[in-house]
């Protein structure tokens, strides 16, 4: 395929909403199971580790361990939900069911399809973020109006990791390929971004690495918000998340065009 065609600007139209709606209609049929899956993991972490480790750890980062974990989990759920949707679900649609091929025979461009999948991954992320936030509020934390900003933050985190997931999907030969993403992106992100312990505890070299991770920037926003204070360096954190999201989406688009439009 000619390089100029691969790299042309996205050609989007309102047709993407029809593709988003299709995904939403499928989700509605399985909504309960889907939400349960997205929410169960973080809740188990919070309860088990929060009460378990929280019993002999006094305060972490100026809050109880269960609150510390909760703020991390709220971002973790957005990250995992969006990644899963943009990898396993999108790959099923693209490669196994050939749904995308069917859609682009209609007057919908491939750019519209990939954009719709991106927004859909973020939509699922925001739903699970809201669900986990509800539980955290139920446990007695986040009783400040500022905590509501975590919901749009969940959407932004969903855009970031949804875009990463779509990059993986564009090049994956099979489902097994996605294991790379877990090992190289999700697990390091989870362990180094300040979910389980403050980033300041790590050696300086690792802290520098953590600063490159989008999840860390999401947590740097979520933690103060949940505790009822305005986070410092808002624009920096937002720029990192948005920058990763936009760049990864463009890469995903180019790679998907190369894969499907031959």
């Amino acid at each position: 395929m000619m390089p100029s065609n691969l790299l042309r600007a996205p050609e989007l139209s309102l047709s993407w909403t029809a593709v988003w709606r299709r995904n939403q209609l499928v989700w509605r049929k399985l909504a309960f199971a889907s939400l349960l899956g997205n929410v169960a993991d973080p809740l188990l972490y919070m309860v088990a580790l929060g009460f378990g480790i929280g019993a002999f750890v006094p305060e972490v980062g100026g809050m109880t361990y269960i609150a510390f974990l909760g703020t991390g989990m709220v971002c973790q759920t957005a990250m995992f939900t969006a990644s899963f949707e943009a990898m396993y679900s999108a790959f099923s649609r693209m490669h196994v069911q050939r749904t995308w091929d069917a859609i682009i025979n209609a007057p919908v461009s491939l750019d519209d399809v990939v954009f719709a999948e991106w927004i859909w991954a973020a939509s699922k992320a925001v739903m699970s973020t809201a669900a986990v936030l509800t539980v955290i509020v139920g446990l007695g934390y986040g009783h400040s109006w500022l905590a509501l900003w975590i919901i749009p933050l969940g959407f932004l985190v969903g855009l970031t990791f949804g875009a990463f997931g779509l990059v993986m999907t564009a090049v994956a030969p099979s489902y097994d390929f996605f294991t790379y993403f877990f090992t190289l992106v999700l697990t390091p992100g989870l362990l180094l971004s300040g979910v389980f312990f403050p980033v300041a505890q790590m050696p300086v070299a690792l802290q520098a690495v953590a600063n490159l991770l989008p999840l860390k920037h999401a947590i740097d926003l979520a933690r103060p918000l949940l505790m009822g204070s305005v986070p410092p360096d808002i624009l920096l954190h937002l720029a990192v998340l948005a920058g990763y999201a936009g760049a990864a989406f463009c890469v995903a688009l180019v790679l998907t065009r190369r894969r499907l439009l031959r």
Binding site: L25, V26, R98, A102, A106, P107, R262
Partner: protein, 322 residues
């Protein structure tokens, strides 16, 4: 005063759009790397006809279809589909085109009716229009009683009929089918063919690629045979056969077929080809062959008129294309 030589040259007037031509492909070229997959292909499909595109694997049929739909950009030539330039106005053109792909790509998460509804939405059809159209589409597909059922309960033939109905949800002018009856049993194939004939009688235009010569012979008003990206022959099926193949064919099988062919068949046929242990004898008059076969032992034979398969094999050869 402006000199005549300095006046701007007039733009060449575009030929008036021919409302009768639903798809016009001119000098289509497509390279994959250094490999020229489509080399200057030209054809035009008139309203109301069923146009068959025949060719062996790798001939460039699917690439041509994808170029016509605007899914891939050609490296040369022009395409005009339902009056719109492709790929410039590809999405506008696809509004009035229906596509039945080679492999079913229905939505397994939805019921039969939901599949039609969801697909209609991609064309911007509103719920009221869809609600009015879907019962007729289900009836066309013979799935009136299965509207609320999931796809797992459908056989291969039913799924293909649903795919055909789905391709009609936007009431297209042009229907593009890529090997529509591959993998179907004879009853299912006949049902699809009946459906396609119905659509033709309603004034729709069909572009069909197929490997099945009986399908091409039954449905196609005109055919184009392409190989290695170029057009080899194009005309009505009857005219093509008459022009390229001897009118009568005798296929000779059996343990002694080869020996008989060498001894007797060759002399009595206009053309004889051996494939494995079968001899294909092509002749303008088969009577001398039939007489000779009457005396032969160890052979069976089949006497028939020449068909599209003979044409296809004559034009594209007997070698396997991987």
């Amino acid at each position: 005063m402006p000199d005549a030589a300095q006046r701007l040259p007039e733009a060449r007037p575009r030929p008036a759009p021919d409302a009768d031509v639903v798809l016009r492909v001119e000098e289509l070229r497509k390279f994959y790397g250094a490999n020229e997959v489509v080399r200057g292909l030209s054809f035009a499909i008139r309203r109301g006809e069923c146009f068959g595109l025949l060719g062996p694997n790798g001939a460039g049929k699917t690439t041509t279809l994808r170029c016509c739909l605007g899914l891939i950009d050609p490296d040369g030539g022009t395409i005009e589909m339902v009056g719109e330039r492709v790929p410039q106005a590809a999405r506008k053109a696809r509004l009035r085109v229906g596509v039945v792909p080679q492999q079913d790509n229905l939505d397994p998460d939805f019921t039969v009716t939901e599949n039609l509804q969801v697909y209609g939405r991609y064309f911007g059809l509103d719920p009221a229009t869809l609600a009015a159209r879907i019962p007729a589409l289900l009836e066309f597909a013979g799935l009136e009683k299965r509207g609320a059922m999931g796809l797992r309960t459908l056989s291969g033939g039913m799924k293909r009929r649903l795919t055909l109905a789905r391709a009609l949800v936007n009431d297209p002018e042009l229907l593009i089918l890529d090997e529509p009856t591959t993998g179907l049993d004879p009853q299912a194939r006949h049902l699809i063919w009946d459906g396609l004939r119905q659509l033709l009688s309603q004034g729709k235009t069909i572009l069909l690629t197929t490997h099945f010569m009986d399908e091409a012979e039954r449905l196609a008003t005109r055919l184009a045979v392409i190989d290695h990206g170029t057009l080899i022959a194009s005309d009505t099926p009857r005219a093509l056969i008459a022009a390229h193949v001897e009118p009568e064919v005798i296929e000779v099988y059996g343990d002694d077929a080869r020996a008989w062919a060498d001894a007797h068949g060759r002399g009595l046929s206009a053309r004889l080809e051996m494939t494995g242990e079968t001899a294909f004898c092509y002749a303008h008059d088969a009577r001398p062959l039939l007489t000779a076969l009457g005396d032969a032992h160890g052979v069976r034979y089949l006497h028939r008129p020449a068909n599209l398969e003979d044409l296809f094999i004559k034009l594209t050869g007997r070698e396997l294309r991987d």
